[in-house]
């Protein structure tokens, strides 16, 4: 068992708690022990757009909390991961900036030393892929999945250092491990457009439509995402876009760990599937019948 500080992130905590639930269920079964620390918002890109210095200070506080416990950070959100990795890199590289930021942290009894790392859980799971393989009991044979890797798991590549952002393959490998079938589709690398949804709904809806249409016409039965913002955009907001632009098709969305849960033998309810807004009765049947076959085989 390796111990990590769990960085859940605000979006999952407040808007998609079922993802936190599935992470807490699945990660310990993959030999990952998780600790809860008093983390705040990472903080996000909107916060950074007002004042990068405070963005660094708050990120440094989060990193310092993990350092104090001697833990590395395991994150559930690519956006949080990017903030923490970038801030960590900036502060490790710049002695004078680090000293100034530490003056602020002193006020709350913390210090940033640069002794921890933050990673998205996919990066960590990819490093211990053999453990993942051993735990699979109900492979997702025949489930056709469109991968949406999103932006911050991959970019900027010199900070994220995980996969090629133009031709990402790591998430694909992780899904093949679960037995799922990958459906390639033309709009695979298009950003989900999440942050435009609040301010420019029309633009965001057209992005969603193109994404869903492209994956649907390629034959996908569902999306799989590593990111809570992409999840919200392709789930809840997909229904809004569908109403506004009147398209016919729809695709449910899985967060990667939900699929891991299914492949480890949990059922749709146990992995929080019914908390999603977009449903597909055909796919649900298909997943249930996989499980029945498995029971018969045993």
């Amino acid at each position: 068992m390796k111990q990590y500080a769990l960085f859940t992130g605000c979006t999952i905590k407040a808007a998609l708690p079922h993802i936190e639930m599935v992470a807490r269920k699945v990660l310990p079964l993959l030999d990952i022990e998780i600790e809860e620390l008093a983390f705040t918002c990472c903080p996000n890109a909107d916060f950074r757009s007002t004042d990068e210095y405070s963005w660094l200070v708050v990120a440094a506080r989060n990193l310092a909390l993990a350092e104090k416990e001697g833990l590395e950070i395991l994150s559930l959100c690519p956006g949080c991961t990017q903030t923490l990795k970038e801030a960590n890199m900036i502060l490790k590289d710049d002695n004078s900036l680090r000293a100034r930021i530490n003056k602020r942290l002193e006020r709350i009894g913390l210090i940033f030393k640069g002794t921890t790392e933050a990673n998205h859980h996919l990066v960590i799971l990819h490093q211990q892929i053999d453990i993942l393989i051993q735990r699979i009991t109900t492979p997702l044979y025949g489930i056709k999945l469109a991968i949406h890797s999103g932006c911050h798991l991959l970019m900027p590549s010199w900070i994220m250092q995980f996969d090629n952002p133009e031709r990402p393959t790591k998430l694909e490998e992780l899904i093949k491990m679960l037995g799922g079938t990958i459906i390639d589709y033309p709009e695979k690398t298009l950003c989900c457009g999440f942050t435009l949804f609040g301010s420019h709904k029309g633009t965001a809806s057209r992005i969603i439509r193109d994404k869903v249409e492209s994956a649907y016409l390629a034959g996908a039965e569902a999306f799989v995402v590593p990111c809570p913002s992409c999840f919200q955009q392709l789930d809840r907001n997909q229904l809004v876009a569908k109403r506004e632009l009147k398209f016919e098709y729809q695709l449910p969305v899985f967060y990667y760990l939900q699929l891991v849960g299914l492949a480890m033998g949990f059922d749709l309810d146990e992995v929080g599937y019914y908390h999603g807004r977009v449903r597909s009765p055909e796919l649900e049947e298909k997943i249930k019948s996989l499980r029945r076959k498995e029971v018969v085989n045993i």
Binding site: C41, D51, E52, H152, L196
Partner: protein
């Protein structure tokens, strides 16, 4: 006529010498998901205006549309990091009290509670219904450490 704001120009160049390397190739614009759907938003043009310190830039609401996707940073052949240039512009606007109200409110929420989402009783009911602990505001802690650089 272009009017130049020298303070803006200085601020932008201060930590961002690389912006001078922009040769206006438009790779950023061709890669930008916002521009693909909304041609009023054009990172290449925003970059050249920023480089001049054009007053025009400050009046434009366009760059708040950026999705922070980082694709332009990834692809720019000159290492300009267009996304980071847009961040500098937004920071400048915030320091001049010219940021949109939503951004300021979103910032204040994080400083006041530690979270970017309001922690309502509905949120906590939902969490408790799936056996997760309720969220609690972080209180005063962030107030003690945030604030723009130099404003100690």
């Amino acid at each position: 006529m272009i009017s130049i704001n020298t303070e803006l120009r200085r601020k932008i160049l201060e930590h961002n010498e690389d912006i001078k390397k922009c040769y206006q190739c438009s790779t950023c614009s061709a890669s930008c998901p916002v521009l693909r759907y909304d041609p009023d938003f054009n990172p290449r043009i925003l970059i050249i205006k920023a480089l001049y310190g054009s007053e025009d830039t400050l009046k434009s609401k366009e760059f708040w549309k950026c999705l922070s996707c980082d694709r332009c940073n990834e692809r720019c052949p000159q290492g300009v990091n267009p996304y980071n240039v847009l961040l500098k512009l937004k920071n400048f606007l915030f320091s001049q009290n010219l940021a949109p109200k939503e951004r300021i409110d979103a910032r204040e929420l994080i400083i006041a509670t530690g979270f970017s989402y309001p922690i309502s009783s509905a949120v906590n009911r939902k969490r408790e219904s799936i056996e997760l602990e309720a969220l609690e505001s972080i209180g005063e802690e962030l107030k003690k450490i945030v604030g723009i650089e130099g404003a100690e």
